[in-house]
Every structure is written in structure tokens, then in C-alpha cells.
């Protein structure tokens, strides 16, 4: 049994929870997010040579970075940063959250998801901006909770990164 703790980070209402809802095993209701501040799901990823269980810690989204519970990230081996593609400010939030985590626990692999890709008409992030981030070597996916586009790819990529 190979497991990895993965934290999903992102601002308020970027769609973290709905993004994974259809793709994970879960026994806890979403009220945990508002009560305990975290909800734990499991995503089983099959890689060519092994199978890995990603234990996903879905942390309650907060635009107020101050109230972010860093302690939940302890022991994590990878991050899923989620940005709401229709709200440019959420990119900054995601990046700040990552900085905070890295400051506390050191650098760790991550994937960056631009969510709500189905809302093309309200898209607020320019392609050049995304290209620039890609050039830093970041793994970036445009996802949609509606269609499930690229969600599996992103988890697969992250699983590869954390088991390397």
C-alpha cells in the first residue's frame, strides 16, 4: 500500500470540492469543511508500475490567508493548487498559499489547476499569463468540474511527481 498526503489549496469558492467530488472515494460530508475546516477524500491512481492512494486533504477555501490552517499541511508530499479561471484574484491567492506552505514545510511538487474552464465567456486569465507560468516548468491544467475535463490527468501527473 502506497499512500501520499496531498493538500488541495485555493481561495474561497474556486470549486475545489466540486472538482474532485465525482472522482474520489469519500465518506465524509461537506459539512466537515465548515466545521473542522478540512475534508478528506481518497483518489486511487494507477501508474504503470504501481498503484498509489492519494489522500486528499481538501482545506476550506479562505480568501483571508491569515486564517489558513497551515498545520493541516504537515506531512503532505504534494499540492493541488486550484484557481477560479473567472476570477483573476484567486490565482494570487493560490500562489500565496503555496508560498506559505513552502515557507513552513519546504518545496514540494504541485499541479496548478485553472478551474471553471467551461465558463469561456467569463474567463479572466490571459493565455500569455498561463504560458508564462508553464515556462517556469509548472504543471498547469485547465479543468472543469462540469465536464471533468483534465481532472484525472492532473491527479495522474501529481501522482507521478510525488512517487518519483
Amino acid at each position: 500500500m502506497l499512500q501520499k498526503k496531498i493538500c488541495m489549496l485555493g481561495g474561497f469558492s474556486v470549486g475545489k470540492t466540486s472538482l474532485v467530488r465525482r472522482y474520489v472515494q469519500s465518506i465524509f460530508s461537506e459539512t466537515y469543511l465548515t466545521t473542522v475546516g478540512v475534508k478528506i477524500d481518497k483518489k486511487n491512481v494507477v501508474l504503470p508500475d504501481k498503484t498509489v492512494d492519494l489522500i486528499l486533504w481538501d482545506l476550506a477555501g479562505e480568501d483571508d490567508i491569515g486564517s489558513f490552517r497551515v498545520s493541516y499541511v504537515r506531512g503532505a508530499t504534494g499540492l493541488v493548487l486550484v484557481v477560479d479561471g473567472t476570477r483573476a484574484a484567486t490565482l494570487a491567492v493560490a500562489l500565496t498559499l503555496r508560498e506559505r506552505v513552502e515557507a513552513e514545510f519546504g518545496a514540494m511538487p504541485f499541479v496548478l489547476l485553472f478551474n471553471k474552464s467551461d465558463l469561456a465567456d467569463r474567463w479572466a486569465i490571459s493565455d500569455s499569463e498561463i504560458d508564462e507560468l508553464r515556462q517556469r516548468g509548472w504543471q498547469i491544467y485547465l479543468t472543469s468540474a462540469l465536464s471533468g475535463e483534465h481532472v484525472d490527468d492532473a491527479f495522474r501527473q501529481l501522482a507521478l511527481m510525488v512517487t518519483k
Binding site: K4, Q25, I27, I55, R69, R74, G75, T77
Partner: protein, 1019 residues
Amino acid sequence: MTSTVDPISLPKKAASNDTGIDREALAKLLVEIARNVDPDYRAQFESVPTADPRMEALRQLLVGREISELSRVTDLLDEPAQLATAVGGVLPSAAAQAPHAQLGEALAPAVERAVQRSIQKSPRTLTDILYPVFLPAIRKSIGEKIDQTFQSLNETLRHIFTWHGLKWRVEAWRTGASFSEVVLKHSLVYRVEHVFLINRNSGLLIAHVTADNATSEDPQLISSMLSAIQDFVKDSFNEKEQSGLDTIRFGELRLWSEVGPLATLVAVIRGNPPEGLHEIFRDVLLRIHDQSSEALEQFDGDTSQLFGVEAQLQTCVELKQEDTNQGFPWLVVALVALILILGGAWFFLSWQTGQRWQAYVSRLVAEPGIIVAEQNISGGQFYIAGLRDPLAADPQALLSGTEVDPARVHAQWQFYESLEPQFVLKRLTASLVPPESVRLSVVNDRIVAEGEATGTWIDQARAAARRLSAGGPEFDISKVRDVSPEARAAERWQAYVSRLAAEPGIIVAEQNIRDGQFYVSGLRDPLAADPQSLLSGTQVDPARVHSQWQSYQSLEPEFVLKRLTASLYPPKSVQLSIVENRIVAEGEAPGAWIDRAQAAARQLSAGGPVFDISRVRDPEERAAEHWQAYVSRLGTQPGIIVAEQRIRDGEFYISGLRDPLGADPQSLLSGTEVDPALVHSQWQFYQSLEPEFVLKRLTASLYPPKSVRFSIVENRIVAEGEAPDTWIDRARAAARQLSVGGPEFDISKVRDVSPEAREAEHWQYYVARLEAQSGIIVAQQRTSGGQFYISGLRDPLAADPQALLSGTQVDPARVHSQWQFYQSLDPKFVVKRLTASLSPPKSVQLSIIQGRIVAVGEAPAGWISRAQAASEQLSADGVVLDVSQLRELNLAELNSLRDAIQTTDIFFSSGKVVPGPEQLPVLDRLADQIKEFAQNARKSGVTARFMLTGHSDTTGRETANASISAARAETVRALLNKRGVAPELLQVRGAGTFEPLVPENSQAGSSTNRRVSITVNLD
């Protein structure tokens, strides 16, 4: 070439530190090298000087730097201070790089010695250092110990007095364990169901073991969530301590966690575990840390390295304490019950015996004449001692009926004389022997003798009473009468005399007894009771009675009444009675009797009681009184003049004049109590000239218009107001006539009417005419500047106000009307409206009967229900529409035709809106039936309408089905129209798939549902 040695400058002094180099070997080596360079040179070498400065120089050249470095290092090693500085600089990194195990081994003895030394020197320092580490551990340990103690105490207390408790006490005694241990062993029933080992850093699950039959959700998620909750609690309450949540409790379920440096062990326990279980978990956790510390430290989510851990955890889940459910101990219970029953029976019996003895003793105590001095029970025997009066009850005899065994009673009684009244009474009875006529009794502790006795006995009794007065109860003999025959006779005589004295009409003047003879004298009224006869029953011997009675007339009212009754012979209509010592006569009597009664009353007034005859009336006198009242009433009546009246032989005669307009004398009789049959009247008519009669006659003859008012002012008749000149002329003539003897008729205040007034009169007449018209309500009307204005409501069905103007002499040009339409609730109008709105068939007749609208006849059901609805609406307005007499039109003939039409369906192929050719005969027949039905319905006064409803099967989209169904209905309508059916009789609708004929689950079903159905409605 010269063989002189090259002037090599040699060091002036030898090397300061001769390192002991083999100089000779070095020299030889150098020579060798030199020979190789120059063979001639070999001759020069004979020997080597011991101190050749050149060699030294050479050495310096070759290894001089090394020599100085070496000497520095040597110096360093030789100088301890310098060496310590140097080693201190590299020691930390050296220790870090040393293999752990070796370093640990090497250091361990030194560290141990150092710690030991430190403690010997000053234990305080180490204590201070370790304090923050120990304190929480100690605290936790103590906490657990206290919990454990409490738990043990709780359970011990809970079970100490139970059956289990007893059993466990035996077990403790048998096994030598403490009682509380045994209690805990039995009462703490639990089972460890799951054990999780969780990586402390990441919350990832390292291992999870489950007891048999225990289930849980995904353990990976649970372990992460558990550590999230640990973090949550720690963050939320800002708890710095490195431990975690000890216990989570949820009903029967407990989560106990033991936190280690690298991993946390969480046990899920069902039931009531002993606190000691903590220690077991902690041991397991320690062992895991010991054995796999490296693997735990390097844990990165891969559990394959920690495979052996599960075996350790397995020891935890096997922990349980089950309730040992032994069979119910029937034998023990039966034995205990038997002992209880036997003991209870013995106890009850001895208690009952004691109770009975006590009952006997208290009975003795209550017994008069018995004094219990002492009593006790000893060895099943009863002892009693005391005093008893010989006359008291026998204590032995009292035993019978108490169920106390007489054989076990040992009594000692001494006799004494009781002074209790009943004993004294007994003794008195024995000593005095009272005669039968005397009765002795105890009253309030006194002994009372009552009755009659001879003087000698009374003397004896008196002596006994004196004796008793010293200490005994009182003996009262005052109620014993001395009986001699003389005394008895005198007593009876006195009773007779007092009886006489009480008798009315008898006055006892004197009485005495002399020589056994009785003498009495006095007065007696002859009407009073006979003294002689009163003797009977008095036991006085009449022969010894000597009476002297003188007669007198008693003035007591009852005697006077008797005498009056006897002397006056009052008629039956008169009642005599005594009221408060007065004699009262009531009723009717002839005058002669009244006169005699008055004479008697006068006689009595001198000393006798009052005789009141004021309430006796003479009936003739009363009739005359009533007649006079009637006559005087007639006298005050206007228009009636009484000329003569008299009474003769009880009959009444009256004559006079009366005005026909005056009151009727006959009718005035009623209520006067004068018998009309006895009245003989003679009235002559005359015209009274009293103003009110004249006024009446004038009103009747002149017909004054409304604008004229008549009144009587000081006996003059005054006419006021406006009247046409013609009327004024007639009034004037009447006034002239009256001037001869009649009251004055003053018409000076009647003014001649103006043309305007006349017009106004005409207008008023018109208005009145309008107001009388039904369906017209005049709200307002006025006359202003010769113009007439009127406004109000009118029913459209009412008469035209304009048309009503004709014949009223009102100029239509000057009339300004404003009418608003309204619906009159007058039945006439309602009928008109109903006829218009309901359009009743010819067979129905609407009529108005006593303000109610009644519909009679035959009509189709649809029409009747509409009429009923109208009736309900109208009833809210207070108008009655009676539809109860309507009968439903008999449509029997039509019904079969209707059924034929309604059971006909036109079917369609799938997706088609035009029926196939096979449906054409059906359509032909249908068209004929519809036409026939419509025609017959029309004859019956009703309109038939046909609803064509299109249907589809469920194949395809619902919207498409809806439109296809409507299109089918339209097609059928067109086809029927083509066959001569009037299109206005046909209505269409599409029902889509919503009204299937058959449930759609087969091919046949869907072909049956593709149809147009027909329903018939009658209006």
C-alpha cells in the same frame, strides 16, 4: 679541472633539530649521483665528515617546508591547550559524521558517568533540565491512575450489595485477589474492535487491524481525519502540548489514542474498558517504536517496510472482556428461599403468640375490677400477677377465645373491693335489695336511684349513701319518690284542676282537698266543655268530687263568635272568622242583615271583642255604583248628551242625544261591570257643534288639498296653507253655513295657489308616479328656476321615464333626467333577465307566484344545472328562483345514439394524421349518427356538441405527440364536415399520450391508442 670543492655556502649552524637522518647513507647516495654525473669526482670521496654543512643545506632545500610544518604539528600535539582548541573546533562535525551505533556505544559509559556525577554533585540541575519532560508524563500517569482508582471504586460501590457482589466476594476470597479487582474483571465488558497506527507527521495510515465482525469505513480516510481532528483541536484551543486527544467517546464507542514520537496508536473500543488498557496500548506503541524506529522515521507513505507492525497491533484487538453469562443459580435461590420461609414462619409464630398474650393482658387491664400489677413472658411461659374484685370477671374465663394456651399461663390474683361505680352498684343491690319500682343506674360515675319506694327503704338507702360518701362514688337517691296512696290521689287531683284551668270558658275560683274529698268551684260558660266529662281518664274518683259551677258568658272571641253565629244566622255568602282577637265578617249580605249585624257590633262594643262588618257588602248597592260610574263616563264623552237615567228593579234606563261621529255608548259599556242585558238605552242622533266634530265633518265634505291644514284654536276651526281658488270658494260657503250657531271657521289664512305652485304640484305628481313604478328608484329630485331635475336608477327593462311624462301636464322641455341603469331585483325584472340569459327551452315556463320565481317544465340536465346555479346566485340577493319543479328531459332515445357515437373511435397508423381507407366506412356511419343526434336534440330544445379528442402513442417526443394528436382531431373534423356535419357542432382537442385507452406496453397497445375519440355534450 680542479678538484676543489665548490664553495657552497653552508649554513653556519647545524639544523636546530637533528632529525636523526642516516647521514652516511644520504652522503653515499649523493656521491653515487655525483659519479653518475662526473666519473672523475669519485677520487675526491674518501669519507664523510660527521657534520657537513652542505648536507644540511641540501636537506633544507629538499624537505625544508615539510620539516617546519611537521614541527608545527608536533608543537600542536605537544601543547595540550592548543590541541584542545583544535579538537574543539572539529568535534561537533566529527561526532555528526561518526557511525551512530559506534558513537553511542563509545559515549554511553562516559555520558552515564557524567550524569551520575552530575546527580551526585547537584541533583537540582538535572531535575531542572528534565522537569518540562517529566511533568506532563507524570501528570498523565497520575491522571490515569486516579481514573483507574475511581473506576474501580465506582464499580465496587455499584456491585457491593448485589447478588453479583456476594458471588464476587466469594470469588475474591477463593482466588486471593482484592474484591475491587474481581469487580472490575466482571463489570468492565469491552472489546477492542479496531486499532490504527497513524503516522504522526502526515496522518497517513501505517497499519490497521480489525477484530472479527467489526466493520468500519475506509481506514485510510479515517486515520487522516483523526489526525486532522487532532490538529483541529490543538489549533482551535491553542494547545502547545505535544500529546494528542486522549479519548473520544461516542455512546458505547470510545476512541483511545496513545501518542508516540513518530506514530499514534488509536484504538476503537466498544464497551467499558478498564483504565489499565492504556498501559497495554502504550507498551505496544513503545515496542513498535523500538523495533521499527528507522522505518517509522523514514515513512513516506509506503507501508511495505512496516509489515511486521500489524502483528503487534493484532495483540491489541484480541483484548476483550466478555460478560460471562452463567446460568441462573436456581439451587442457591431455592435454598435461600427455604431458609427465609422457615425463619419467617418461626418469627411470625412467636410474634403472633406474643401479640395474643399482649391482647389478653390489655383485655385484663381494660376489665373493671382487675388490676394487673406485673406480667412477663419467659421461656414460652406467661406470668401475670395483680388484684381482682370478687365481682369482676374471672381472668381464667377471659382466656377462652384468646388462643393463649391456658396451660402456659401462671396467674397470681389477690382479692380487693373495687370502688368503681359498677362494683359499688352491685354491692348496693345486694345489700339494699331495692323494690322493683326502684331502678339503680350509673350516670357519670354517680349511682342514681330512680323510682318509687316506701319511706323505710328510702331511709336505708340514705344511710348507705352516707357510708359511701367517705371515698366511694356518690349515691343519689333524690329521684326516688315516697309513695303513699294519699299522695298519689292528691297528685291526680292537681292534674285535673290544672286541666280545668287551661280550659277556655272555665274559671276555677277555688279548690281544696279535705278528708279525701275534693272540692272545686268557679264560673263556666255554657258553651265551654263540661267539667264532669273532663274527669274521665284522670283517675280521680268522680264520687269524691264536689263541684259548684256558676254560668257566665265568656267574652273570649271564640265564645262570642259562637254566640253571634247562633243569634245572627249569617247567610252563606258571609264568612265569620277571628283575626287577631277581632271577629271579622266578610262577603255579601242584604241590607237588613247588615243592619242587625251592626246592632250586634254596637252591643259588643261595651266590653266584648270588636265585631268588624265593614267588609260585608250589599250587592244592589254595588251595581248602582257601577251604573253611576258608566253614566258619568258618558257625560264626559264629547258628542254624547245624557238627558235622563234611572234604576228600577235592578234594571238601568238611559236616554239622550248622540252625534254619529262620537263614541258608541254601547261599546263604552265594556269594562264597566254593568251587565249590558240590564241596560235600556234610547239615543237620538244630532249634529254636534263641538269644534272637533265640525272639523271632522268639514274634512269629509271639503276634501282639502294636502297643502291645507285644519286645526282648532280656541274653539275656532282654522284653515291654513295654499289652495286653488275654487276650493277657497267652497270653504267660504261652508264657513257661512257654520256662522249660524256653529263654531267659527276661519279660512283667512288660506292663500290662493300660484302657477308655479301648480306646476310644482304637477311635477310632484309625476315624481310620485315614477316612484310607484317598479324598476325605477328616484334618488334625488328638485325644482330650481322653473326647471325640474331628477336622477336615480332604472332597470333597462323598466318603463321609460320619458314616456311616463305624458298626461302629467309637466313640460318635457323643462325636465332634466339622469338615469343610471341597475338590475332590479323585482321578480318581474329578474324573470326578464333570466329569460334572456338562460334562454329556457320552450318546454320550460317561468312565472311569478307570490313574489317567488318558479320554473316549471322539462329541460335537459345541463340547463337544469345552469338554472340551479342561477338560483343559488339569486338567493344571495334575496330573490327566490324555485327550480324544484323542473324535470329532466327524457333523452332515452338520444342516449342509445349517444352511446353509439361515444364508443366509436377512428384509428390511425403510426405517425399518420390521416386515417387509412379502412376507416372511411366508420367515418360515414359516424357522420350520419352525429347528424341524426343533433337534429333530435334540437327538437328537444337542446343543442348537442361533439368533442373530437385526438390521441397518440408514447413513441417519440412528448411535444411531437401532442401536436400529432391535435392534428388527428382536426383531420377528423374536416372529414366529418365533408360528410355534412355542421362545423360549429364539432370541437377539437389534442390529448397527446395522457389519456391512453390501454396501458402502453405492447405493439397492440400503441396501435389502439393512436385514435380520435368522440364525446357528446348537451347544452
